[in-house]
Each structure stands twice: as structure tokens, then as C-alpha cells.
Amino acid sequence: MPCINPEGKPTETGKKVLQALRDNGLCSAEKVAETTGVALFRVRSGLRDMIEAELVEMVEDKYNITEKGIKLIE
């Protein structure tokens, strides 16, 4: 996974994505890519993985960090 390592912890890219969501609130994948400088395809793939890991949730077509996600980057 590009954003979560096999131990279930966010990678450096994962942390960037989670921090962007924490700092900006509800965000589109495009906004996350713009804020973090991570390529859009990697953001989309990472967000998918982080939804599966319950670190991120989807609200309509945007993304939000979960409590579990916030705890992981504290």
C-alpha cells in the first residue's frame, strides 16, 4: 500500500495525506494532491486504502479524516 505499511501505520506519503485532511477538513482528492504535492494517482490509490483501513471516510465525493486517522498522526 502506498500510504499504509504492513503494520497498519501510515507511510510518509500516508502521513502527508492524513495531515492535509486534518488541516483542511473535507477535501477532494485533487485538493489533497495540490496541498501535499503527491501525484493525484497516488492520492486516489492511497485514499482508497485508507478508507479500507478506516483512517479516512468518504462524504459524497470528498474525503474526511476519521478519529482513528487523527490518532495515528498525533
Binding site: P2, E30, F41, R42, R44, S45, R48, D49
Partner: protein, 217 residues
């Protein structure tokens, strides 16, 4: 080999939607949809840790910033495992100092290779040949190149094709043989007699005849 020769194989064609995939890569699981909105150069190579492919990967890594400037992402593929791809990319960096910045699909099941017609049994029954698919931001296949196992690809040609396609899209023109950015482009030929008569008198156009006119963008 017989099995391949007798089975009808459906190959993607220009102007068609690129086949979807959901693939394991060196940058995690990626879907074709993840690239929506960007252009994509999807290319296959025969095998990791082989000489021609290594020179190509270094060359692809070198043009990657130029592709990104044009809104193009790169995605490699071979039927090797993920571990092999990771080990090879690390080896290339260690031995040559060139980091491989783009993802590589580990297509052990050949699901993606077969969907894109990348296995040519006359060349190799087990490896993918050197294919290049240039896919636009709407995920339509715009160019397909096939190179044999023994011939490394020309990166400048890949950049040139991207430039030509993007210039064509932006300006409604075509590009002549050996065109490079900055050269004159071809104006579409008129399709009426009146249009032909007007065309040869049009100022600013360099015309050989009504059907072959160029202009500077």
C-alpha cells in the same frame, strides 16, 4: 504457441477506451481510473534485470520530469513479481544513481498484459514485448507503439508524440513528418471546392496546393 495462434485475441485499438485494470504495483494497488485527468504512458518491458530494459528504465526516469510538465504520468509493466521490480529499481539506483520514480505493475497473472495485447508469442510466449500505450486524460488510447525485444525505445519520439497529440487537440491541426514543437503545423484540408479555392488565397498559410497547407502556431 499454437494455443495463442488459434485463439482470437482482441487488441485495444486507437480511439477506443483503454482497458480498465486493477493492478499491484511498486506504488501500491492502482486502477486505470486513478490516472483520470492525466495523460498516461503505459509501457511494458520483457523482464527485470535485463540489459536493454535497464537502459530503457534509466531513459524513462530521465524523461519523467518532461512528461510531468506535459501532464503525463508513466506506468511500467512486466510479468515479474513485485519483489523483483523493487529489487531491480533499487539495484538500478545503487549502480547508476538513477531513481525510478514511477510505478511498475507486477503482472504475474498476465491479466493486464493480455488485455493490452502485450504478449506476442512469435517474440516470446512468456514475456511482454516493448509496448507503449499513450492514453489521454479521458482514458482514450491515442498511440500504440510496439518494439521487438532486441530494440530499445526512443524516448524523444515518445515525447514528440505527446507534444504532437496535445498540439493537435489544442489547435485542431495535424503535424507533418518529422514535426517537432515550434515547427509549422498542417491545416486540415478543406472539403469543398469553394473551400479549396479560398484556402490557396489564405494569407499566412504556406501552401503546396489546396490540400497541403502549413501555418505557424
Amino acid at each position: 504457441m499454437e494455443e495463442y495462434q488459434t485463439k482470437p485475441v482482441s487488441l485495444p485499438r486507437l480511439g477506443e477506451k483503454a482497458p480498465d485494470f486493477d493492478a499491484l504495483t511498486t506504488h501500491g494497488k492502482l486502477k486505470l481510473d486513478d490516472f483520470k485527468g492525466s495523460w498516461l504512458v503505459l509501457f511494458s518491458h520483457p523482464a527485470d534485470f535485463t540489459p536493454v530494459c535497464t537502459t530503457e528504465f534509466i531513459a524513462f526516469a530521465e524523461i519523467y520530469p518532461n512528461l510531468q510538465k506535459r501532464g503525463v504520468e508513466l506506468l511500467g509493466l512486466s510479468v515479474d513479481s513485485l519483489s523483483s521490480h523493487i529489487a531491480w529499481a533499487r539495484n538500478v539506483e545503487e549502480k547508476t544513481g538513477v531513481k525510478i520514480p514511477f510505478p511498475i505493475i507486477a503482472d504475474l497473472s498476465k491479466e493486464v498484459s493480455l488485455a493490452y495485447g502485450m504478449v506476442h508469442p512469435g517474440q516470446s510466449k512468456t514475456e511482454t514485448v516493448r509496448c507503449v500505450f499513450i492514453i489521454d486524460d479521458k482514458q482514450i488510447i491515442r498511440t500504440i507503439l510496439y518494439y521487438p525485444l532486441s530494440t530499445g525505445r526512443n524516448m524523444q519520439e515518445i515525447l514528440r508524440i505527446v507534444d504532437a497529440l496535445q498540439t493537435t487537440d489544442a489547435n485542431g491541426v495535424a503535424t507533418p513528418a518529422n514535426w517537432n514543437p515550434g515547427d509549422k503545423v498542417i491545416v486540415p484540408a478543406p472539403n469543398t471546392q469553394e473551400g479549396a479555392e479560398e484556402r490557396v488565397k489564405q494569407p499566412g498559410y504556406e501552401c503546396v496546393d489546396w490540400y497541403l497547407c502549413k501555418k505557424q502556431l
